[in-house]
Amino acid sequence: MSTTNTELCSKESSMMAPTESPIVHLASRGISPVILLVGMYVFFHGHYSPGGGFQGGVLLAAAILLLRLSLGTSLSQPVMPSWITLRLSALGALIFAGIGLLSILLGGNFLDYHYLPMPWLEPAYLRYYGILLVEVGVTITVMTTLVAIYDDLLGC
């Protein structure tokens, strides 16, 4: 993994090195999955409790950034590679706009979830799942953009 990292980053800075302390190392590796789990909970429970795409995305990004801070950039590449972040961000925006365009193609207005191709659902639940699909795009975009900004600021 470190060979691809040296290809991606033309120069190493001291912020990108792993920490010296084994306690920080171990604690961050233990806490990060818990933050990921809380982030998924906040995202999927956005329909029933305070939460949603933006908050869940920021929590998921926080879990990845914790690993980036403690393990260093090269060791945390398997969690989320640096080259994939901006592409996933574009994918999230594309999911959002694609749902809008899909409802135009099926005869409705832009982002009118009533026309989504799921005819076995009653109209109100169609809007429920439309909101869920849109939030997926929002979450992916927010999470990967925050990680991408951090990686760019470190010069990776």
Partner: protein
Amino acid sequence: MLEFIQGYYAYIFLATAFTIGLYGMMVKQNLMKKVLGMSIVAATTIMFWIVGAYKEGAGVTVLDPRIGVEDPGMYLNPLPHTLMLTAIVVAVVTLGVALALLIGIYREYKTLDEPTLLERMK
């Protein structure tokens, strides 16, 4: 007097914090401190909306089946919260772009101090 303090302490605190952010943007010479002031101003504006949307006796904007929707006074107005939810993320991304510009400036001129920067740009 106590009633005045209870009604307005949040507003007065936010006005003071807004002026502190503006002070950082106006008086300080370091570009990093100017960006910090901008961040304080953004956070203060967001908190001002949230404080203004508070209503006595109202709960969070999640439907409670025991309360129902007949009386809208039992729920907060969801519109300001939605607007500020989007504004927070935009403020974070704006901060990221500002920091990126600062790093670009520092790589080019090796300083963030404004008079020195103007001197070196000549």
